[in-house]
């Protein structure tokens, strides 16, 4: 399905820069409301740090709950950027063009948000320094570099740094464009950020090579981040349901499923809010939905393997856990919602082209996926800890407290708030990609038919 539009450069500039050169009327109220929500969230976090983790529902044996689930969730969402931007760039998928910037942004902001959760989960965040830095040379106490507590921040920090660079390199031509269209302090800001961008052949070449190199370099980091997060669980044989060799790729493909769905949600919002109908078209949703069908089905395969090999061992505690997860209240309800929302409802719907090209349907189904994927993480992390085991004298069901729910909601407000702030200063759809696409698309005559064609290096 191809819906090409001939869009000249002035039109592209005017429409795609409408967030920076003008302020949409809805922008200020939206930012104000989100800002208030963010401040409330920060106050709750402050209060929790002041009072201690007793205000949460956490306790023995469920010491990892909503915070760690949400941490894994946001790390998962962060996989959107590299999946969409780097992989599609390397494979030269033409439909990627309007999607890349939003995906890269989502990566950066969701990683920033994810990092908050282990910090606040520690109860006394300043103590994190003890885990990472050698703090007592005299007594020879050093951090254990093999610990996930070291590897997680290293992996996520590297991913965040790389993603930010990736975003910035792709932003350079648009910064040059903005510099030439602004005055006053904004002009000064863009002048500094544009790094002298003039768009000469040398700069284009360097920007292109830089983008490709960063894409290739980011791929292993992208895979390693969620793998390391998964090994936080998988290398622990003492908790049923965690010690599985499949966790690393299972987490990664789940992250891609969830991240790409989040991009779809964001694309629909961008189209509605900024009225970018000419740039974000049904064909893009169609392509993303096709990608999601493949990814979701792969993810389902991994889910099946994870489950079948959990039962394969025929160990009584493992079977008891799975029974609890799937057949005992309230876990069974969560399990059903998880399965329906992560796969059973959206994927069969996406098989229909009418759904794939219906933006409202894509918006709601992509939200469903992320509801399901959040529940998946919750069902992996909590039941294994919550199951009553022999010789456990403190045992009770885990119920997230209002404090935890508030911080959970805060994370969504925070990411949206950052996105809106970004949109005020930088274009959410890369202008140069759109213009490049216009130049590369042509028609080729085959017999009597004119077929859409694309200029390519010789295949």
């Amino acid at each position: 399905m191809q819906q090409r539009r001939t869009l000249d450069q002035p039109y592209t500039n005017r429409v795609l820069l409408n967030g920076q050169l003008d302020t949409p009327r809805w922008w200020a109220p939206a930012v104000a409301i989100l800002g208030i929500a963010v401040i409330i969230g920060l106050l709750v976090i402050g209060a929790m740090i002041n009072k201690g983790l007793g205000v949460t529902g956490l306790g023995r044996p469920v010491y990892w709950g909503l915070f760690i689930t949400t941490f894994v969730f946001w790390v998962g969402i962060s996989h959107a950027g590299i999946m969409i931007s780097a992989i599609l760039r390397l494979t030269q998928a033409e439909w990627r063009r309007p999607v890349t910037r939003a995906a890269e942004l989502l990566t950066v902001f969701s990683l920033l948000t994810a990092l908050v959760f282990p910090l606040i989960h520690a109860g006394r965040p300043w103590r994190i320094a003890y885990w990472i830095l050698p703090y007592d040379f005299a007594r020879g106490i050093y951090p254990n570099i093999r610990s996930p507590l070291i590897m997680d921040p290293v992996a996520i920090g590297t991913y965040l740094t790389g993603s930010t660079m990736f975003l910035y390199v792709a932003l350079l031509p648009d910064l040059g464009n903005l510099r030439d269209r602004t005055t006053g302090w904004k002009n000064s800001l863009y002048t500094v950020l544009a790094l002298g961008w003039r768009g000469n052949p040398r700069q284009w070449k360097m920007q292109t090579v830089g983008g490709i190199l960063l894409s290739a370099l980011m791929l292993p980091i992208f895979v390693s981040v969620h793998s390391i997060v998964s090994w936080d669980f998988a290398v622990v044989p003492s908790v049923e349901g965690w010690h599985s060799t499949i966790f690393a790729p299972y987490f990664v493909i789940g992250a891609v499923h969830s991240g790409v769905s989040a991009v779809v949600t964001m694309m629909a919002l961008m189209r509605w809010l900024w009225k970018w109908d000419d740039f974000i078209r049904p064909e893009h949703f169609d392509a993303l939905a096709r990608l999601l069908i493949v990814v979701a089905t792969g993810w389902l395969g991994f889910t099946f393997l994870e489950l079948i090999f959990a039962l394969y061992g025929q160990d009584a505690p493992e079977i008891a856990l799975r029974e609890m997860q799937m057949f005992q209240w309230p876990w069974n309800m969560l399990f059903i919602i998880f399965f329906l929302t992560a796969y059973a409802i959206p994927v069969p719907l996406w098989l229909f082209k009418r759904v794939r090209t219906n933006i409202a349907m894509m918006f709601w189904t992509s939200i469903l996926v992320n509801v399901g994927m959040w529940l998946e993480r919750f069902l992996i992390i909590v039941p294994g800890l919550a199951r009553r085991t022999p010789f456990v004298y403190t045992w009770e069901a885990y119920r997230p407290s209002p404090v935890e729910w508030t911080i959970f909601v805060w994370s969504f407000c925070w990411v949206t708030f950052l996105m809106l702030l970004f949109s005020r200063f930088f274009p959410l759809v890369p202008l140069f990609e759109q213009k490049e696409s216009q130049v590369f698309t042509q028609d080729v005559a085959i017999g009597r038919a004119k077929v859409p064609a694309i200029v390519r290096e010789a295949d």
Binding site: W204, I212, A234, T245, F247, A458
Partner: protein, 472 residues
Amino acid sequence: MASEAVTIGHVAEHAEHAGLPPQIAADVIARELVATTSGASKRFKTIAWTLGLLAIVGIAALVMKWIDQGDDSTRWGYIAALVSFLLSVTGGAPMVAMAPVFAKANWVRPVTRIAAIFSFAGIATIITLIPLVLLLPPLVTEGARRRTIWFEAPNYSPHVWSTLALVLLLLTGIMLFYSAAIPDFAAMRDHSTGWRQRIGKKFARGWVGTDVQWRTLRMRIGMFGTFYFLILVFVNFLITTDFGQSLVPGWRDAIFPMYHTVSSFQGGVAGVVIALWVARRYMHLEKYVHLDAFWSLGRLLFALTLLWIYFFYSSFIVFWYGRSENDIATLELQIKGPMLYAFVAAIVLIWFVPWWILIWNRVRRSVNGMAIGASVILVGLLLDRMRIFVPAWSVPPEQIHEKWLRTIPDTIFPDLFDALITVGMISLAALIIMLMTRVLPAVSVWQVQEFNLIAKPIKYIRGHASLVAKPD
């Protein structure tokens, strides 16, 4: 403009070296490619006879091994490894033809036929599997049910379903081959003589290239390709669990079926690279099999090599750090003693060496460099299969119901039968592929013709590029 334009301008410099698609008349393509099926050279005949003799010796050795060691399943680990190896290469190769087609990649066009031909070599896999099915213990022995994926299923479920799945894979692979070959059978009908023309007429089924026929052809390829992929994953799942994991008490590795599938794709790509290298060199197909095909296969092989190490490491680290009794026993079985050498060699040959070879663009863009890289991977793959399946089959049947492996069995070393069977069955697979290139051209006629139609070399800024049509 801008970024990719620069890339294209840059790439165009060596595009001349890589060669833009030659604009050859469709009729010439058909005649030249059909002509490659006839008039086998003396070298071809010599190699075919040699492979045929080795295959006969291999089958005879298989029968003799059955007579001599048919009552001792612990001696059949190398044959299980061979089945896994053959399944990987012959089963994985057709996917190489399919996956890029789904992604509408054009580089794959000269590769599709030779990749699809590998399906027929699955016959060698099935022949080798027969004694293993007979030796596989039932689910329940002496009242004890061993751990399998079959849980409460009837006693001989693994035997029946694994065999049926493998046969189904073979049949689907052949159907996939045939679906994509109908226009070429028509080309055989129109451009050859004798038995080839008769075969072409029979199998072309009245193909004249109407719109409906083309639509049906594409639909069939898509349908069989998807079906083939699903069956391939399923077969890998069954073979790895029924003929591997379930024979070792306590070995529980959820990623192993996917690991096997990924290395199957890797083996398939490596096999296709070697077959393409041979076809290009000895059937003089340089005009149709360009460097771009090797370049793209190189990138695919490189990606699969990285994916292999990722899957391998994901499994290994969980056993290594888990340190439960199961984990320790499984690791001791698979990577201790003499198997340590196979383990290290497999990692070096499947990952380390190819990684260092294929990371260089210059190697990926060279026909011989790619062939060397692919050969190294295939040797490593065979060793990897040995270090997995030989220890698994070495566990005595009376121990397989235990919770975990309490005593590590001695390593079984290969005997003459194993060597002859391995060489013989690989020769049989190679022979089948060779003979199939006598029936149909090794490069798909219609794929090349279509590419000529949709890709036009154009001048772009100061260089050259292709204008590639992207029909819906």
